[in-house]
Amino acid sequence: MIETKNINFYYGNFQALKSISMKMEANTVTAFIGPSGCGKSTFLRLFNRMNDTIQNTRLTGTCLIDDQDIYEKSVHVDELRKKVGMVFQKPNPFPKSIFENVTYGLKVNGITDKKYISERVEQSLTSAALWNEVKDKLNQSAFALSGGQQQRLCIARALAVSPSILLMDEPASALDPISTSKIEELIHSLKSEYTIVIVTHNMQQAARVSDKTGFFMFGELVEYSDTKKMFLNPEMEQTQNYITGRFG
């Protein structure tokens, strides 16, 4: 479960997020939609403290994951990121073999048990619906895979460290329709085990995969409700305009 209270975030003098408070339940899929530059990706990247790597940024407010403030000094950021996996917009496999890509997270976390590692590789690739396609070529370069396969490999790589939360930053925006539908099916099947937060530009996608949707604009959370309600009967006029395609 993720809960934010009164989050403000600044890039230098520019305020990217304006007092956002929201709650994302466990084992649900929450989608963030909104026009480009509205802050939805910035908000997503707060949950695994990915914005820490960007210089000259500032955050106020609290962000709780399972009732623990993740910006508290006692929290180790690498421990947090083990619990909160992330999949990026463009597939970004390492220039290593498929096997090494999946085991990377385990290795950096000090796991050396070979049997456990190979079990995790099979489990995560199976969960990412990639096992059957790659089981015979685990030692081949990850670059030999298609874009859609690479993205599923990145999902498998994130799953290998057994996170409880999976953040997805426009995971299908660089993919073709068939690969996209595979990723969407995957999100459906992962819901029972993981809390998923997905940022997307594609409103149909948000409608298809998510239970709840948040609509962002100019750094503000305009509306946050059940996906069905949001798309059928939005409360705010801005939301209505955006989802009907009047701007964005």
């Binding site: 996996g85 990377y104 994130a158």
Partner: protein, 402 residues
Amino acid sequence: MNPIKRISERFIEGIFKMSSMVTSIVILLIVVFLFKEGMGLFSSPIVESGYGLYLNTTNPVSDLSFTQIKQIYDGEIDNWKTVGGKDEVIELFRFDDIFSIYSDEELGENYEFLPEKLNQVITDKSNIIAFLPYKYAPKQSSFVKEISKENIGIREFLLGKEWLPTTTPSPLFGIVPLILGTLLVSFFAILFALPLGLGVAIYISEIASSKIRRIIKPAIELLAGIPSVVYGFFGLTVLVPIVQKVGNLTVGETAFTGSLILAIMALPTIISISEDALRNTPLSLREASYALGATQWQTIYKVVIPFAGSGISTAAILGIGRAIGETMAVLMVTGNGAVIPHSLFESVRTIPATIAAELGEAPSGGAHYQALFLLGCVLFLITLCFSIISEYISKKQSSKIA
């Protein structure tokens, strides 16, 4: 289009075309000249030019190989039997010896009787071998003959273990000690410079704040602009005494000192190229690593360094290339002993230092002069190899990104 504009564009295009052609031709001509002058060595005789070796006609020996001449004059062969003659002790005769046999009056005012007297000496002694200048040499007669001369061979040049370009009668142009000296100094230079340079590059690209980076990077690039003679001077006055004292050596001018100076000189190249390579690692790969719970160090050595691997090797190779071609600083601190080095704490001489030190005293067109040109060719080929390797590696790198 306006015809004047069109013509002027054509004209400018022509100028660019011309200048690129001229540049290419000049470079090509320089290489051709280098090789043409250098290759002349293999058609020059083994005996110093302007001189000949003369024997008594009763001596059955009529030609001697390069090695045999050298061994005879070194005293390693002292009997004609060894080289296929009669069982007689070899008597060496040098031109200067004539003045201890005959007085100046006997030789004539303008040495006009010199050839005659030399003829006399050779005729009298059947076991003699005389090394004489052509100017005063006796006419070949029934009593005196000149040894037919071989040319200097490629083997003697490439595999020769001694570089003694001014010994008589046969100068030695063996480049093995020079090549070994060059490679030794360069190899250790890169051994010192690479870990240090890589460390600095990692610090600048990964750890330092942008403020510190803005100060350090130009400072390091400034190092590349310092003339090499200044480095040499620094080495001579600072490093040499330190090496001498710390190593408790008789002289501080050693291969080690040269390596240190070259390492300092190669650092800017290595740092700036490998830093560029490290910084070229895509943000997406770093983020992927962080998102999986890797720490900054794990990300650096598991993702960034492997990705920049070929850039780092290019940096190393260009560093070696710089070290191999470097002349002045090395000339000043290595002591220039042209012998095969057995340890790092001996004096060595590199190829470029040899050329710089000896070209001034080598008579133009002579064997020594040609040998120095040939050294230039060897150096050119070595650095060419390194450039090709680095080109190949960086090509591989660019295909990796695509």
